[in-house]
């Protein structure tokens, strides 16, 4: 968890940067990113001499880069990005290079509390990952589906372990892919594999696997389930039991399998985005009980409130409550919490955020280009040019809002009771 208690929760409004406009002398400044604690705002900027740097509040990094991209804060408020120097790429954290330069780097991943940072790498045409700047011991012909464990700094990816000639379909269907964890390759060879998922303590990895042209299953720690399915989506670990659950397709319908056996019978038109509470008693997913009608599903029971699209399912810390966003094909967003739609529709909405005690839910929404924050269904009677996702104090009594008010970046702390 991020160190919420160390953040400033004094109610009130602070202007962190009076004007985020591109400073004189710069060619341009790119989109701003805000630190989770709201104390820092940053943006990639291009100097007149055509080098790139990073603006942090009212200062600029000293580094001069040929190009800079993928700027973002980790959960621990460290600022990371990818910088090009002499044609090579560096992972920079707080303006310091983490590890050696590479031919290309991409996909920066932070773990749960920001302790570990990883990214994908390519050097001399071979692919792997860096963890805290350290490259994998072995690289591969190709790699994708990069993952970093929630804790303990382990990385995984789908890797190509055999050469594949152009249009060599015969070799492809014999299998050329596997999974590498910290660069160590599993024995299993797959036709395809997708989305390695770590257990919370990083001791286990599950992956979607295409066993042959037509059969799919889940493989956990290099051992495939014995059952085969028409299709599968991303697996998830039950934190209480270590079981692996995944949406699976049988006879044209979707259900949920646990360690290969059906937990939810295949009755759904669609099912994905499985999330499980910490005690394993509440299993959630996004699904469609009917064609074209999506909603949240708890322990196999769909909510009554259904939409053409449902996204951004989020659980309360104890897993007993859930929130998601329903929408009409990306318009008229509605926030739904515990199967109850909040009043109002929005042009766009961001993922719901639960307070640590699970009592409150906050959502950033946008309408007609103006952003605001809703808490427990009520607005704050104020709009902004931009809002980042809000955060609650550890006791759930206050909410932090990070916003652009005109050109000013502001950090606003409000009592949650203000929204009641």
């Amino acid at each position: 968890m991020t160190k919420l208690k160390q953040w400033d929760w004094t109610p009130g409004e602070r202007t962190i940067v009076p004007s985020l406009a591109c400073p004189a002398g710069f060619m341009w400044q790119e989109e701003a990113v805000a630190s989770p604690d709201g104390e820092t705002v940053a943006a990639v900027a291009r100097r007149e001499d055509e080098t790139f740097t990073v603006r942090v509040n009212n200062e600029h990094w000293e580094g001069e880069y040929e190009k800079f991209w993928h700027l973002g804060f980790g959960p621990d408020n460290r600022l990371a990005g990818l910088a090009q120097v002499d044609g090579e790429w560096l992972l920079t954290v707080n303006d310091e290079a983490l590890g050696e330069s590479h031919a290309f780097l991409w996909t920066i991943l932070f773990d749960e509390d920001g302790t570990n940072v990883a990214c994908a790498s390519q050097q001399d045409g071979s692919y792997g990952m860096l963890t805290n700047g350290e490259p994998w011991p072995e690289l591969f012909d190709n790699a994708n589906n990069f993952a970093l464990s929630p804790t303990n700094g382990k990385t995984a990816a789908v890797v190509q372990i055999k050469p594949l000639g152009q249009a060599d379909t015969e070799t492809f269907f014999k299998g050329v892919f596997s999974v590498a964890v910290n660069g160590q390759v599993w024995d299993s060879i797959f036709v395809n594999a997708w989305t390695p998922v770590f257990s919370h303590d990083a001791s286990h990895v599950a992956v979607q696997a295409r066993i042959n042209t037509y059969e799919y299953t889940i493989t956990v720690d290099d051992k495939p389930w014995t059952q085969r399915f028409q299709y599968v989506w991303d697996p998830a670990f039950d934190p209480a039991t270590g079981d692996v659950l995944a949406p699976v397709r049988l006879q044209g319908k979707w259900g949920l399998a646990r360690n290969g056996s059906m937990d939810w019978n295949p009755t759904l038109v669609q099912c994905w985005d499985v999330k499980i509470g910490p005690d394993g008693k509440n299993i959630w997913a996004i699904g469609a009980p009917e064609y074209g009608k999506f909603t949240a599903i708890q322990n196999g029971r769909p909510w009554n409130t259904k939409f053409p699209v449902a996204v951004d399912l989020r659980l309360s810390p104890d897993g007993t409550r859930a929130a998601c966003l329903g929408n009409n094909n990306n318009t008229d967003f509605v926030v739904v919490v515990d199967d109850k739609p909040w009043p109002g529709t929005w042009g766009m909405a961001w993922a719901p955020v639960f307070s640590p005690d699970g009592r409150h839910v906050a959502v950033t929404v946008r309408k007609n280009g103006q952003y605001t924050v809703l808490v427990d269904g009520k607005g704050m009677n104020r709009t902004f040019r931009r809002c980042w996702p809000p955060a609650f104090s550890s006791d759930g009594a206050h909410i932090l809002i990070r916003a652009l008010d005109g050109n000013a970046f502001k950090r606003i702390v409000l009592p949650v009771k203000q929204f009641s």
């Binding site: 591109c22 002398g25 400044q29 790119e30 993928h70 290309f104 269907f173 990306n330 652009l404």
Partner: protein, 451 residues
């Protein structure tokens, strides 16, 4: 009249599949088709068809092959799906025939459906035959390879993740020589437009990304492209009959736009991808419509010109004709918008005959061009009618706002020795649009203005 067996083309992928075929597997696949929901639809079509033959002259393969009856859409169905539905003995060699007919002698263009008096969708029937073949491992090799790429990389051309982003960074840098402030904004959250392209663009048509960036820049649009998988809107898996991979690829595409909280997806000049996102792939995922609105480039460009967001500085005088891509014209009715854009760019537009929704297919779509070199000659021969259409117009430029059409028409004009070049709309908009000085001259910030 020829027979499919007489005109067999050797395809390594089909040969490999053939070697592994057994009667049991074929029986299983037949049952899967007959006993599924699709089987009911097929039976209705089968029993509704009057064998009137109205579909025959609608088919470019039939017309281009001297009205050979075996190329008539109804005959293609009779040689494939009808045999499945009738429970006839189907052997491995028959499946080879099915695959050649369904994958390489039908573009799923649905022109025949426009002429069928009872509206039978033969494109759908042939798609189902393809699904049958896919289940038996009988897919032309090159087409299969694009599907394998989709499954492995979420794009059609085996483009690796670094290659994709590197291509965007490179095109941005190139374009800065022309527009000092231009950006290809990566992963910009909350942007209005999520711009997606198809696999060949970063692979060997990066100038199209350059052009799109310039158009977006001059129009002053709020747009982004993702640095992660989901950038490719194309979908050869749909045409293979590998609906599972199709679903994964479409999910990645929609997920990418949803993750970045973009309002709409604007897609490049591609036809089949449009079919996949608004008609086929979305439905396999359980969505009635596209979960994120999709705007095809034809409509996008028309709106930019109509709203004055880009101004066309001059029109070209060359004789120009318009090819109507099946998936966006017959499939979505963008014929007027296509003409609006073309006439805004060209002063001498000569229509093909027939045109609009009745225009002939390019013979490349439906995955046929992706079946690769073994079928190039039959593909070009199978669209002699299109060559004649183009020739009759006397045009030296053929507008074709679709990648597969573009490539297929290049083969056709080359094969028929027609002095015409094939052009995307963007190929004309980019050089012909006004580029005001404030876009082309470097100017540093003055410390004011909005973020």
């Amino acid at each position: 009249m020829s027979t499919i067996r007489e005109r067999r083309i050797t395809d390594q992928g089909l040969e490999i599949g053939l070697a592994a075929l057994t009667q049991d597997r074929i029986r299983e696949a037949v049952q899967a088709i007959r006993n599924s929901e699709t089987g009911a639809k097929m039976k209705v079509y089968h029993e509704t068809c009057m064998r009137c033959g109205m579909c025959a002259p609608a088919c470019h393969f039939y017309v281009s092959n001297d009205n050979d009856p075996s190329y008539a859409p109804v005959a293609k169905v009779h040689q494939t799906m009808t045999r499945i539905l009738n429970g006839e003995d189907i052997g491995p060699q028959d499946v080879y025939d099915f695959a050649q007919i369904a994958y390489t002698e039908c573009n799923l263009c649905r022109r025949c459906a426009f002429y069928c008096p009872v509206g039978i969708d033969i494109g759908y029937i042939m798609s189902t035959v393809r699904r049958f073949c896919y289940k038996l491992g009988m897919v032309p090799q090159y087409l299969n390879d694009t599907g394998n790429s989709h499954a492995s990389t979420m794009n059609q051309m085996w483009v690796k993740e670094d290659e994709w982003t590197d291509s965007l960074l490179w095109q941005e840098e190139e374009a800065r020589d022309e527009f000092p402030h231009i950006r290809i904004p990566l992963d910009k959250e909350g942007a209005d437009i999520f711009y997606s392209v198809i696999g060949p663009e970063p692979k060997f048509q990066t100038q199209l990304i350059y052009q799109a960036a310039c158009i977006m820049h001059v129009a002053g649009l709020d747009w982004t492209m993702p640095s992660f998988p989901g950038w490719d809107n194309s979908d050869m898996s749909m045409y293979i009959g590998d609906f599972e991979t199709m679903g994964r690829v479409k999910k990645a595409h929609f997920d990418a736009a949803q993750k970045l909280k973009c309002k709409r997806i604007v897609m490049g000049e591609c036809g089949h991808a449009f079919r996949s996102v608004h008609d086929v792939g979305n439905r396999w995922l359980g969505a009635k419509d596209s979960p994120v609105p999709i705007v095809h480039s034809i409509k996008f460009f028309a709106d930019l010109i109509r709203e004055g967001k880009i101004k066309i500085a001059y029109k070209i005088d060359d004789p120009v004709t318009i090819h109507d891509p099946c998936n966006v014209i017959r499939g979505r009715g963008l014929m007027d918008e296509l003409r609006y854009v073309t006439h805004a760019l060209c002063s001498n537009v000569i229509e093909m005959t027939p045109n609009r929704e009745y225009n002939y297919c390019c013979c490349a779509g439906g995955g046929v061009i992706n079946c690769g070199p073994p079928y190039k000659n039959s593909r070009v021969q199978g669209n002699r009618v299109k060559a004649e259409q183009i020739k009759r117009t006397g045009a030296t430029i053929v507008i074709s706002p679709c990648h597969n059409c573009h490539s297929g028409l290049e083969d056709i004009v080359h094969g028929a020795k027609i002095d015409a070049k094939i052009s995307f709309l963007g190929d004309l908009i980019y050089p012909q649009m006004e580029k005001p000085a404030h876009f082309t001259e470097p100017a540093p910030c003055n410390g004011g203005g909005h973020v």
